[in-house]
């Protein structure tokens, strides 16, 4: 409805757009473009610098395509961190969109340079790296956000708040699944866009678990408010012949012993991006599917089912309405979720720069700790599979 379509004054802008630098994202990169679309749509950022590729010609061409000042289109991200930190109009934050094994050194370099970090998932490949980043953040007070992008859909925030407000009663079981199909392509095509995903040295021993498993793991924890404490994993290779798993089935326990399952496969024919979460409690179940992100299905016990859709009106909670840019029925989707995330990053970074405190609970972008939890999850799954499916603790110990 038109009259309900008003953003509050909750998000004061900086008076200028923040300056974003991007590492990775050059020609051929998918995820770098997705970050950029989110940043642009949020209207909080301008992309002013980048080390878009490690190959000089690609970096240069990509920088030109992105409209970067050639002086700020870097080949080397060390250089970029140094140079940007030195400029009066240097970047306010860096977005890290490189392969997994580079997340750690790049993040460290920019934190060392005093620059806030927005990092793709999974955070890093090793627990020690995660610990080092957390320690660094403690020392510096820098903002560090991890782009578990699905957590920024309005209906995911609605689900999270409904759980927190007790709508489901006591949580009894949690099921999350994430199915894609690309691993069924011929071996030379299946991972052609991101060949490093099947390189153990670059992904730390797990492919699909690191790629989409972390999304599933994060979403389950984010919405339920419970940590996954233990898991049991079986890895499978069902598609093209590759070194690492393309499929994993896990049973798990969450805080308080709540049981659940996490099923992931990139070799499920006909699946596109099938991330679905069900959080079930004594009084109802919530069901959300990434491919239809505007709808949250609430199924109370022994009662009609309810389909909540993004918008204002009866039943909409504050965490969700904060992200309503268009009225109900004017669908928002993944670009909008990324914009939501980049908006939250901007608010946090502006507040830090201004020394302002923000209201408790205003922001919920995934934190460094949430990134670290994903690393613990991957490591536990690898170990459980290797041990034949034993129960392995998967909480991140700082």
């Amino acid at each position: 409805m038109t009259e309900t379509f008003k953003r509050g004054a909750a998000f004061p802008a900086a008076g200028r757009k923040l300056r974003l630098g991007v590492v990775g994202g050059g020609a051929g990169s998918f995820i770098g473009q997705v970050h950029a679309r989110g940043a642009r749509l949020s209207d909080r950022w301008q992309i002013v610098a980048g080390a878009l590729s490690s190959r000089p010609d690609v970096a240069r061409a990509s920088g030109q395509a992105w409209g970067l000042d050639p002086a700020r289109s870097y080949i080397d991200w060390h250089e970029m961190a140094r140079a940007e930190a030195a400029r009066p109009d240097g970047i306010d934050a860096v977005a890290i969109t490189v392969p997994n094994h580079l997340h750690f050194p790049v993040a460290m370099a920019f934190m060392d340079a005093g620059i806030d970090v927005i990092c793709d998932k999974p955070l890093v490949n090793a627990l020690d790296e995660a610990r080092a980043l957390i320690e660094k953040q403690r020392q510096t007070g820098l903002i560090f956000g991890v782009t578990y992008s699905f957590a920024a859909h309005a209906m995911v925030r609605q689900a999270r708040q409904m759980v927190r407000e007790g709508v489901l009663g006591r949580i009894t079981q949690i099921h999350v699944e994430y199915f894609q199909e690309m691993a069924l392509l011929p071996a030379d095509a299946a991972w052609s866009g991101t060949p490093w995903r099947q390189d153990p040295a670059k992904v730390g021993g797990a492919a699909t678990t690191a790629d989409i498993g972390t999304h599933a793991h994060h979403l389950a924890e984010f919405v339920s408010g419970l940590r996954m404490t233990e898991l049991r994993a079986d890895f499978h290779r069902l598609g093209a012949d590759q070194p690492l798993e393309d499929t994993a089935f896990m049973t798990c326990r969450f805080d308080g012993g709540v049981p659940g399952t996490l099923l992931i496969s990139q070799a499920m024919a006909g699946a596109s991006c099938g991330l679905r979460l069900r959080v079930s409690g004594t009084e109802g179940t919530l069901d959300w599917d990434q491919e239809n992100p505007e709808y949250l299905h609430h199924r109370p016990f022994n009662a009609p089912h309810i389909r909540i859709s993004r918008g204002h009106g009866a039943g909409m909670l504050s965490d969700a309405t904060r992200f309503v840019h268009m009225p109900r029925g004017h669908p928002e989707a993944l670009s909008d979720a990324w914009a939501n995330l980049y908006e939250e990053f901007a608010i946090a970074i502006e507040a830090r720069r201004d020394g302002r405190d923000l209201p408790e609970g205003l922001l919920a972008f995934p934190s460094l700790e949430e990134g670290a939890a994903g690393v613990a999850f991957i490591q536990a799954a690898i170990r459980s599979d290797a041990e034949g499916g034993t129960w392995v603790r998967c909480i991140f110990d700082a």
Copy 2:
């Protein structure tokens, strides 16, 4: 379409309705009524005798309500087997709808009396009982059908034939789930309709696994054509405080090592009768949901999704069209599936009586062996859970 709405001559009738006797099904019984509805709708049967309850007054009142000749409304099923076998117009078959622990003695009594058997699932509580029934069938040549009713939906038959014809390529993974909510009722209400389901002596050590788990297990095997060979199970009690599990999460392996999962719960708030099967292969995935039985979703690799609906026309296979009673869009559902099953039982029984052979593949009603496989599944799940989730072989060894 009207003109396509013709049944072939594939199912010659007996020239008379077959005579059915029912054991169980008296006042308060749900499943006995469901059998009766299927038998009536099939138009192949008349219900002429029953031992509808072990309580004389209930048996009598129920017999009257069902319109039985008082002389054929028995209190005792031993007596019923004897008396009906002795009558020239005795029953052609018995439908067994009593609690699980009675399936075995009742089935044996009627087989001893030379009467064909239609038995609810799970078949029996112990592997030895299953073996004894199989041995008895070998000796007698009697027909023995098990009412895994979901296997008689036209779209399930379509799915099965599509798999057999190779539409999915090589099967790579199988997922089946079955969710209900009644265990979330207060303890005194949760299983009030069938209290024996939580009595270990009557259900052989598993509640939900025996009740709905066997349906899920059978459907997965029936459609995929693969046997579940091993499983790993965790049992949970998430609803009302009861002796036995109301929830179980299993990972499994099918013939050839195909991995899968089987998730069941009767404590999933908002779930009604959520039995969903996904069979996935290198070239496509089939997805079927019991609550919307007219639709079979076929998702080929990297191509548009296809929704097949019951009826005639392009893409419909013979096993499915055999069960088309009404044209596409005139929905059939569970009563019709039960009628399909009772039609198949009638055809088999008539053929046995007449000494006729039926064309290979004409009938696919669940057999005694399929019932026995369910018993092996239950026993394996109980053992795996007891051992902390070890892999346990779950094939029935005759």
Copy 3:
């Protein structure tokens, strides 16, 4: 849920099954079979007599296939009416499933013989015929039901009661559509099952309007509780070349001037049996689709959508729960709706025979007057189309 799965004592049975005779329904007939399935599934009726075809050999063969006593398998329905009326075990009611132009004489013959009538729709071809039947019913007090079968789905009854209880506020608009595709078949196949539907002499000047239009018209009135008072119609021939319309688009007015639309076509490619009703009021909209009859969609103003499904539990109204044979999620469908209708007929007929009064509102099977309203609707549509789409009054004037 098992425990909620109890039928009340609202429907006392006769102590015997009622005896049904069928006119029409012989080999090749679709609708006769559908009546028979409903009667059987209801468990209130046995089919004991029939004039299944006007062709002696077909009548005889069909009678045998239906298991009729040859003495009660008639060639001529006049003879059947006379003979059955004379038998002490004569039929309790006749089901009329012949082409439209025969409804009137057959119904009259059986009413003359003092036999209750169950008649397919449309009732008759002319308003005078409808008036004569009503007059006859006044004189005789016979039961006369019309098989607008969709009105017997539990969720349609739920919708009707919700409207009556004011859940939607004041009704503001009504839209009903009914789309099928068979008219797109080649000319010699399109109406091959029911060629008389395109014979003006047998259908009274309208094909699709009489066939499916009457269903749409009845459903709209039945659920909304409002009479369609005026309509404006355009007829079209979009499929195979035939004498009569296969498509009609109407705008209409209901009691109180409530506007609406009624769109029907049997030349809509890809449509199976797409009857959909939307009744909208100041506080909400109800939406029901015949192909998914277990779900009633309730969309309140500016609030989450609600999907009500057949069963017991929160929000279920008495008119719907009366028709719950299986718990929620165990889908019922068209056979069950027909059984509901035949159950209601049985209750009414038993009560008439016993001289009992039934509670107000217990039964809602479509009446002779509702059948007559359909005739008025057809006639008005024919006239409006002929006059170039003028507004024509379409209320039946007795």
Copy 4:
């Protein structure tokens, strides 16, 4: 799939972002923000100037919020046209997002200044105004795009191309509906966001027909490739008491006499933004719903239904894949559609500036003529309703 996720070189960029000026869109405006989001997300535009409001303080504050150079934040759009035309870095195009009655003078002013125009719909309020704009465009050769935004969804383009390639056979009927609910708010709230929509002087005599009816009309023509030639309309006021209609039901004829319907209401409780188009032909039907824009439903005659979803792979046509920014299952929605539109505008404007010809059929953004067709549609509907629902020709005569 990652590897298929490559944009071709079909759209050479300008080497710089184009400069956009916006008229309207100040605080309180919904549609101005939507334009701005599309422009930003397309990455082809920077918003550098605006006359965001006719109220000086609002214009100033909005300009600041949008980050405009104060010197280019105008109060008066005449002044803006003059000043921007005079600047060497003046705007490349103006986006007109003011109330309907101002579209004409604003568009004329900017065309007079030699600036390309992007104008919201409906184009103008009078046919003469439309003719004058067309004449002006003929003289100047300026680009003029109309933001029928739904036409820029990938799946709408897919539908359009499927029709053009004959997938549906001969088109037989077209149905389009657009339902919203805001008119059911109390009178003082129903149109509070855009009160001018109920001011006859500002909208030319129709409210809902001009607002959402034009979208429905355009979408039907755009996808079917047929012009609506005649219509018959009834206007209704079902919601808050207001001068103009909030509901209209129309029957219509398209080129070649193809019949159809167009149903619109802003007083349909529970409807959000329910724009649905069905184009049906002898061989199949296409069905698209704005609220779920990623899916195009294709229902061939007597065959399984097909759900096409945005992405690459089997069955995807060139007009759709041109707009794939994220792989299938990573949902795009309304912001992305607006970005598609702004991308097309940019390509056209760059080509005009460079004097380049573009390949035939590369672009399909709605043209000035398509805008004019919407004006003719509105005028015809107003006249038909006034005359009691007569058939009125609705083709725009240039």
